[in-house]
Symmetry: C2
């Protein structure tokens, strides 16, 4: 097909015999220059820019000129969430490693398909081997294995689906005939993806029983024992316990080891949602915080969060890989089969899948374990500075004592009536963005609005934090000017 | 943090103040040069190269030198599935558009998160607007909307989950208490993701009732009516009918319009899996093949297949967007809320998600509707050439008369006993790869092995097909040398 004769831009595809080499190279260069220019000046834009103009969602009949496409792309970048800014500290969305950006570029161009080995001969073999290495870092045995999934919600869904399938004979016949409704236990502060998983899996969102937490925000093991007994008494069928290593709002790590023992005592599946905290396995200094995770039946871990891999990059690991595959597999007879490797699309929620393993592999090869550890340790150090700054200010209150580099706090000024504190903190979020160039988030936690920071950006320096606290102090000093809406 | 003092490569991240600009630009340039070099010579490698050496899955303690990383990357590209080769015609995996490769690059670097509007202010607003445009192209009404998902299996899972939630009051309480087991109907040739969806959703894989097909491979509407009646009689609760627009093996389009009428008559949800064939909506000449799709309650459509967008890029569209959101939504109180837009992570299977909309948007802006149409029409033209070549050869048999650009056929040589035909066609697959530089796939269809081609690559020319048929003729002429294993 002659692209141009058909009215297509000459650069529509990379010609496999190099016939449009110069044109393609020029277009790619323009996008790369634009991108590096914008990312290399990220600190000059707001961490969360104002939206000024959306790109047109109209699909044109004829393609638009490349110059216009580039201009629109620039406008998109400049208005998007600016996670590369050192003051972007509001969510678990990190600046991506260069290696992961480039891995995504290559994976996209190769367009291999993780559905089957035939469609991704290298990457479908690399993924299970690399994930086995990571499983070993968590202390899982030689029998362990796992699969990458497009995000942590799918990671948790994959784990709970397998746990359910192993505990109940429902793969073919479904849940409708079950005498007792299955339930599982998480902390009340666990991620909402467990309620979503329970809904999707046909268990119903109420099958996620949220156990109360102690004053550190950690699941209360006594309450867990009571909840299990109550569920049995109520005619429910408990099948799993979930510990969280790094809750979304406060970054709290549940008592993993104690929970593992309770799960084992009751013959329940033990899942650890280490979507965020799993990165601690890369830090010799801090990995002890995950103590007990080696007893997990399954683990969710997202390198897309604290391991700096561009999203999505998440995984579910299973202690018994064969058990997972046996209890989940749906065959696809249109794919080739290889003797030495598994078609991953048959044993995971997804079929066609992007080669996310490449950006994970490239990041780990480029930074090494020691590089990851260095960043994690620096994050802990700066979190300590942040924590101390809070503790020095009587008007600031911590939601919980932090376990990691996530700190949730709020201003509780005595001069304001308590019912105005939510609004006041919302106001502070605005001020911090406008005056300190810092984006902090404003989660709802135990019915109140808090300010949350996730100190994961390696370029966030003590000076940025100093500005943030200066603005907070100033706001507090000018409290009398505050008028609630 | 000083990256190098901490033992990290200076290029680990793109410094937000440009402090490592030159080093990063050099690394990016090296990867771009490597990539364009390999993609621009894709026709010189095999469409499916031999695997010679896997990259190391060992995670090094110190990062490896960039020169070594680049060498390994080159080796990975050279051994991977080579979908850009004009002879790669075996699966629905197309050569990706340049715009989609670049869109992925930018989305990866921005690292925005489709979980919430706050985390992707532009892309979370653009996605619903663009999908509404596409829904309109399918003839869905103004009430329609949709969401991107990471692959077609998730697209179908999302649709069936919503259909289930709307038909049964099980969101909170689950399926365990339901008096009648829910079932839904697909053609026997529908994609295995429906069995997977039924298993995941707790319906059980047997809840997918595969209705027999006619001699064109299309769902038999008489048989569907019987199946619905039988299910009701057996105490099951039918809730959905699924039509496929482009089956995986033969590219067959079910009688959509007739099935829509049956679904409506029985008050069943009507889903169309147009993962592949949905692209026809972009072809004024061929869109009539989708007649009836405008009556769907939900549609899966994957631009990652026949719209040339790098994977993953798939969507679920709903006729009644509000109904979908109301019956699926799980709130996430840690995210900000915007008045004008929805947090997509609350209404879809996934939470954190890559900004796939950018590469879809860029592809459509770059190629335009007319460009997409031109490619689809050229694909039909070359498929016609392929079809004629088969029909000219008495030893070749079609699985079904093709509806689109997917052709499934096999050699049935009279000289060989029928029980050797599967092996013979497997041999032909090898010969075509080795001697014609063509990768065709070898699906199992109705208990037999077939050769399947998907003529989607715009650079596949009549000369490639001529070589393929020459090799087939030669193999047939030398049939006597064949010794089955």
């Amino acid at each position: 097909m002659d692209l141009q004769q058909s009215g297509l831009p000459n650069t529509a595809f990379i010609h496999p015999q190099g016939k449009n080499q110069a044109d393609v190279a020029q277009l790619v260069q323009q996008v790369v220059d634009l991108l590096l220019g914008e990312m290399g000046t990220a600190a000059e834009r707001s961490p969360l820019p104002q939206l000024t103009r959306l790109p047109s969602h109209n699909i044109p009949n004829e393609g638009i000129p490349e110059a216009e496409l580039l201009a629109q792309l620039k406008s998109i970048i400049q208005q998007s969430m600016n996670a590369a800014h050192p003051g972007y500290i509001g969510h678990m969305d990190s600046i991506p490693s260069t290696a992961s950006i480039l891995g995504d570029l290559v994976a996209g161009a190769m367009n291999n398909n993780m559905l089957s080995v035939e469609m991704s001969p290298v990457l479908s073999r690399l993924e299970p081997l690399l994930l086995k290495e990571i499983a070993a870092m968590f202390g899982l045995p030689e029998t362990a294995g796992g699969v990458l999934v497009s995000g942590g919600s799918l990671g948790n869904l994959q784990a709970i689906a397998v746990a359910r399938n192993i505990h109940f004979p429902i793969r073919e016949k479904g849940l409708a005939g079950l005498p007792k409704p299955p339930v599982f236990f998480t902390s009340a502060a666990a991620h909402t993806s467990f309620q979503k998983a329970a809904m999707v899996l046909g268990l119903g969102s109420e099958a996620t029983i949220g156990v109360t937490t102690d004053d550190r925000g950690k699941l209360d093991c006594g309450a867990l024992q009571v909840a299990i007994a109550q569920a049995k008494q109520a005619g429910q069928a408990p099948f799993a316990v979930v510990a969280t290593a790094g809750t979304t709002v406060t970054g709290t790590i549940d008592p993993i080891e104690e929970m593992a023992a309770i799960a084992q005592k009751h013959n329940l599946w033990f899942h650890v949602d280490a979507s965020y905290g799993g990165a601690l396995a890369f830090s010799p200094q801090h990995q002890h915080l995950l103590q007990g995770i080696e007893q997990a039946d399954s683990i969710t871990f997202n390198p897309q969060k604290w391991l700096y891999v561009a999203k999505t990059c998440a995984m579910t690991l299973f202690r018994d890989a064969k058990g997972w595959q046996r209890n989940f597999r749906v065959g696809a007879p249109y794919m080739g089969n290889e003797d030495d490797a598994m078609n991953l699309g048959e044993v995971s929620l997804q079929g066609t899948r992007h080669g996310d393993v490449l950006k994970l592999w490239m990041t780990l090869q480029h930074l090494g374990k020691a590089g990851c550890a260095a960043m994690i340790e620096q994050n802990f150090a700066i979190a300590q500075v942040f924590l101390t700054s809070i503790q020095q200010r009587p008007y600031l209150k911590l939601a919980t004592k932090p376990d990691m580099n996530i700190i949730c706090f709020r201003s509780e000024p005595e001069l304001l009536p308590t019912e105005q504190w939510d609004q006041w903190n919302s106001k502070l979020q605005d001020h911090l963005l406008q005056q300190a160039d810092c984006f902090v988030s404003l989660p709802l936690y135990q019915g109140q609005r808090w300010l949350k920071v996730v100190l994961v950006n390696p370029f966030t320096a003590v000076t940025h934090l100093a500005t943030l606290f200066e603005v907070l102090d100033e706001c507090h000093a000018n409290l009398s000017e505050f008028t609630p809406a």
